[in-house]
Subunit: 331 residues, 2 copies
């Protein structure tokens, strides 16, 4: 008989509790015990915060742990549940996907009780934690191979009520960018599943994943702003400082806004994120390496836009994405 996923403590208990979310063992690995923090101050918003969905995105787990330190003094009402590391197997491997089954946790929601370990993690979270929350913050990093501004992201949502509510929640972080991102690979995302359950779900995407002190400070300030907006803690929200600036903008990027490499070779970035560019401005250079007679190729902006993301120097194949452009969102 298979053990069912369970919590080692009663989530309805008032006050602060720590315990574990137990993901049952399967043919591929032993049971996992994911540390969980719960702070129940009665009536009010019900917030679930998760980090470590991808194992090489490290700011989220650290900021979630810091939140656990100051929240007990600060939270005035409602319930906050924090799971700093959703996927400890991927974290320990410093890998986006789970090494055991090769799966991306953020593509297997709502998971399967009789699936491989990544699917069992998604199943445990979907069954035991998600139903309790009305709002979810999933803390990602954009990863070490891109330059990307601190942003709170949502993908387009069909539900006409949930879309503006989600955007307002995202904007409440007051990060440099709030992003509506048209994306073609959303099935199985934690986002998509939570939205289908009527939850306000936003995904924070922060910087390089290399745990710089500026990134951690921005992440923590953004989370505090969001908790203030929800009414869970008291205080005055403030824009965090990013590259000497305190500002927020709400942007939109479409699938057609991705710039792709015209050939294989080494991509050299030439622009920084949030630069405003005009048609023909050079975003980066592709250096072919197969022949000494092949010249470098400029990769240019097709229209006036804002640089949202630029790939770090990397060897890329033809048609690999090397930059994302964006423009102010008009709803």
């Amino acid at each position: 008989m298979t053990e069912a996923p369970h919590l080692t403590f009663d989530l309805d208990r008032p006050g602060m509790t720590t315990g574990h979310l137990v993901v049952p063992k399967g043919a591929d690995c032993e049971a996992l015990s994911l540390p969980v923090f719960s702070l129940n101050k009665g009536e009010g918003p019900r917030l679930l915060i998760t980090g470590g969905n991808h194992g090489n995105e490290l700011e989220g787990p650290i900021v979630a742990r810091r939140l656990i330190e100051w929240l007990p003094e600060a939270q005035t009402c409602g319930r906050v549940i924090i799971l700093p590391v959703l996927n400890p197997l991927a974290l320990q491997a410093w890998s986006r996907n789970t090494p055991v089954d090769g799966l991306n946790l953020n593509r297997v929601f709502p998971g399967r009780a009789d699936g491989s370990v990544t699917e069992r993690i998604a199943d445990a979270v979907s069954r035991l934690l998600l139903p309790i929350a009305d709002t979810v913050f999933d803390l990602h990093s954009f990863g070490p191979t891109w330059d990307f501004p601190p942003a709170v992201v949502t993908h387009p949502i069909a539900d006409a009520d949930l879309m503006p509510k989600t955007l307002r929640m995202a904007e409440a972080f007051k990060l440099p960018v709030t992003l509506l991102w048209e994306y073609d690979d959303t099935p199985g995302m934690f986002d998509t599943w939570a939205h289908s359950q009527g939850k306000v779900f936003v995904c924070a995407e922060l910087g390089s994943g290399t745990v710089g002190s500026e990134a951690l400070a921005i992440y923590e300030a953004g989370l505090r702003n969001a908790l203030i907006a929800l009414g869970l803690v008291e205080g005055k929200a403030d824009h965090p400082t990013f590259r000497q600036q305190k500002s927020s903008r709400t942007l939109e990027t479409l699938m057609s806004d991705a710039l792709k490499s015209p050939a294989r070779g080494i991509f050299e970035p030439r622009r920084s994120v949030l630069d405003e560019v005009k048609q023909g401005d050079r975003i980066g250079i592709l250096h072919p390496m197969d022949s000494l007679s092949a010249n470098p190729i400029d990769i240019c902006a097709p229209a006036t836009s804002i640089v949202l993301a630029v790939k770090s120097g990397m060897y890329v194949d033809t048609d690999a994405r090397v930059a994302l452009l964006a423009r102010p969102l008009s709803l």
Copy 2:
């Protein structure tokens, strides 16, 4: 019968020539043709420049290609041979090691003619290019998971004449750091083999491997300085600017200067490279993630020293290196 490694052109031909170094096919893959540039202006120093020894270190190949653009106008004497990409298989995989055989090219020198492809590359270079040179610059990057200053590195050399000659060559780059690095994993390095053949061999290690414009400018300026010092081109050497500073220092780091993680968890860097630190100063923090009750652990400097390298935020195991300290070299 096995084909022998060969050049598709006569290296002794005067003037500029481009062609290929052909690495014969083997059981594991087809023959490789590595683009080679040669500029022969007669008597004078004989310099071999190589990049792409590790496939995820991208500044070297780009700077080598740039050098090929301006050298024909600038070189006044001697011979320069440039091989921008030693290991195209690793480059195309954006991988340190060769995917086909899993080997690190920089640990298999002098290679084997009947070995796997990585060994055949080393063999071709050792037989056909190294004998022609009296000086070698191998262009590396320190990689995206460390913060490291632009440096020219040599390991200790037993030959009492070659050691100071090599250090002087390294210092001629005028990069922020010239480093004498005591290291325990030197057998099979290109460095070690070239030194055993009496060559002046230095290894440039530059930054993150993410091809930032500052890194490329420093790398190119350093190479130009070194070419001036050798007398291959005319001009005045100048210190490149690194983080608003123009300076050079010669440092030494010993094996005992590596700081290791006291536990497994996420490492958070707290110091920048070239910071001067005293005993007890915090270099970084280790955040254990297995339990919510485990506190973060400070990782501190054991003595007055200079921060040479700091790991970027990363999940590390117990005893993993997270920082390297150094001190001024006294010979």
